[in-house]
């Protein structure tokens, strides 16, 4: 309730002709944050590349500009074959997870929903475990992707077969049951082969590691598809906020919207998890921070979650790479460590201005 007071002020200022939608100011802030994060991601790393040389090289890459790069061949390779793919992957994964989290919260009208709600994490975890334990059967990203999509698909069918498909509580419970079952199976597989516990554990904590642009190309189509579909539904997701019955009365095919959005968000999440492991916190903390600061309409929450989610994960990865350099922190630990205090600050700010 407190948070809303800021928004009332923002909405008054922002209320354009007829719509209190996304303002240019917030959109610009999101784009700036992302650009700054990408530059930071390129600039920091074990191989010291001077910032001015980095900027010169970036400018030289622009079309129509015939600048001279001052980077050596090695530095250029570090920049474009090591850092750039990793930074871009972080941005893609962050954007996908944050958008998917916002989409899940909208579809389930549940502020605690995150992209792993319907068992995507447990399914991916089982897939990854199988891939690690039985090496060579199936590549890890594909196993994780299949595990995640199968788990959510299974939860959806299970929820529909029990309820009438309109009750989201049944769907969530089906997701919980699916997650519990798959986690149990994963534990069983692990028990058979304790040698791999360390590898599996490190995957579970999430990591952005790349070998060239391969991972980026792997996740790109799913991320784009997922984000485009979710963003296209942002106005209808606002209509869902008045409940299934009222939305139906307003001419919305609630079941279809829900299936499409869950499907798209799940595909994106599965692809993100396949290349980066289970990175927590982004899907829940970013949409909430956006909601508290910029406004609760999904026309605001979803596009800004995409931008700030991307920026957040790139920055988190910079910290993961540099904090204990040359050792690397698991990025899931970093997102939680900076995400939790950041969220508390946002909550307090919102509460403070409401008082």
């Amino acid at each position: 309730m407190s948070a809303a007071t800021i928004r009332a002020g923002a909405a008054t200022a922002a209320a354009g002709p007829g719509e209190g939608g996304l303002t240019w100011r917030w959109l610009a802030a999101g784009v700036l944050a992302l650009v700054a994060a990408l530059l930071a991601g390129l600039a920091f790393g074990p191989a010291g590349i001077p910032p001015t040389a980095l900027l010169g090289d970036l400018v030289a890459q622009l079309p129509l500009v015939h600048g001279q790069s001052r980077l050596s061949a090695l530095e250029s390779a570090v920049l474009w074959e090591l850092r750039a793919p990793r930074v871009v992957l972080g941005a893609l994964v962050g954007a996908t997870l944050a958008t998917a989290g916002g989409a899940y919260q909208a579809v389930f009208r549940n502020p605690l929903a995150d992209p792993y709600l319907l068992g995507a994490a447990a399914g991916a975890g089982l897939g990854a475990t199988i891939a690690i334990v039985y090496v060579g059967v199936v590549p890890l990203p594909i196993a994780a992707f299949l595990g995640a999509t199968a788990a959510v698909g299974g939860a959806y069918l299970l929820g529909r077969s029990v309820g009438d498909g309109r009750n989201t509580a049944t769907l969530i419970l089906a997701g919980v049951a699916m997650a519990a079952f798959l986690t149990a199976v994963q534990t069983l597989v692990l028990q058979q082969d304790t040698e791999n516990v360390r590898a599996i554990y490190s995957w579970l904590l999430g990591r952005l590691s790349t070998s060239g642009w391969r991972e980026v190309l792997l996740v790109l189509p799913y991320a784009v598809f997922s984000i485009v579909v979710v963003l296209a539904h942002r106005r209808l997701l606002d209509v869902l906020r008045v409940g299934d019955d009222e939305a139906t009365g307003l001419g919305v095919r609630v079941g279809r919207v829900r299936l499409l959005v869950i499907g798209a968000a799940t595909l994106g999440t599965a692809a993100a998890v396949a290349v980066s492991g289970l990175i927590g916190f982004v899907g829940i903390v970013i949409p909430h921070a956006v909601r508290l600061l910029a406004g609760s309409s999904y026309r605001i929450v979803l596009p800004l979650s995409m931008l700030f989610g991307a920026a957040f994960l790139v920055v988190a990865d910079v910290i993961a790479r540099t904090a204990l350099s040359p050792a690397e922190l698991p990025i899931g630990v970093v997102t939680a460590c900076i995400g939790a205090p950041f969220f508390v600050v946002v909550l307090r700010t919102a509460a403070g201005s409401a008082a």
């Binding site: 009332a8 008054t12 209320a15 906020r241 139906t248 009365g249 001419g251 309409s297």
Partner: protein, 258 residues
């Protein structure tokens, strides 16, 4: 305008509405009355296409459940008994939701939608509140916002599920007068449900009395609001007097009368 033919609805294997045949002519105001659980809300939900049913329902000659959802919503707008209000949504955004059936799946609101929203907001005196959040409104203001949303839907049929239950008597009269005016201006057909029998009789052309899911009496207020019918179907002790050509229903406590 609205024609129900042997309509039945079952919920969880139990019949909630049975064999209801009812006609509401274009431009008419018919109010459903009946005790709690008589089937008033279910009937409105069936006409709005939110609930499945047996029999046939025709709105403007077309069967709602056979229409695509947006087209159905352009035909009939419903004001819900207890609407689910997103408390941090602004009044203007909330009224804009009423334009949903005119926008299609992925459309964006245009000038025509903005005009319809502004008109609905002006019509319900919500102008000064348009940028406020729903959570900051009083009960009466929320009710007006819900009505404005239905109005922005620009449907020829307005379904009102106890639109005045949460309001004080002054606000009740205000809302009902407004519906009456809108009905005249926009040639709306109104089908409502109400608990206050006196107000129901004062504003509707026809009353339809439901009991146990069946239509037991249908006619002008004076024919339906009789002490005998109310005693039988509400299990209430009332006296009915006439005031200005409209029946007034008074609850009676026999101990006090004796």
């Amino acid at each position: 305008m609205i024609a129900l033919e042997r309509v039945g609805v079952g919920l969880g294997g139990r019949p909630v509405l049975e064999d209801v045949t009812l006609r509401v002519p274009a431009g008419d105001w018919t109010t459903l009355i009946g005790a709690n659980g008589a089937g008033k809300t279910t009937l409105l939900r069936a006409v709005a296409g939110v609930t499945g049913y047996s029999g046939t329902i025709a709105v403007a000659g077309r069967e709602p459940r056979r229409l695509p959802a947006p087209e159905r919503a352009r035909l009939a707008a419903i004001v819900w008994q207890s609407p689910l209000l997103p408390l941090d949504m602004t009044v203007r955004d909330y009224v804009l939701l009423g334009r949903t059936p005119h926008l299609g799946m992925l459309g964006r609101p245009g000038a025509g939608d903005a005009a319809a929203v502004a008109d609905a907001i002006g019509r319900l005196d919500l102008g000064p509140l348009a940028a406020r959040r729903l959570g900051a409104l009083s009960g009466g203001e929320r009710q007006r916002a819900a009505l404005a949303r239905a109005l922005a839907q620009e449907a020829a049929v307005l379904l009102l599920d106890e639109p005045t239950t949460a309001l004080d008597v002054g606000r009740q009269q205000e809302v009902l007068e407004l519906v009456c005016q809108l009905r005249a201006e926009r040639r709306l057909t109104v089908l409502g449900a109400m608990h206050d029998l006196t107000l129901a009789g004062q504003y509707a052309d026809q009353l339809a009395l439901l009991d146990g899911g069946r239509l037991v009496r249908h006619g002008p207020p004076a024919a339906v609001l009789t002490a005998e019918l109310i005693a039988r179907h509400y299990r209430a002790r009332v006296e009915v007097v006439e005031l200005g050509g409209s029946p007034v229903v008074l609850p009676v406590r026999p101990e006090l009368v004796a």
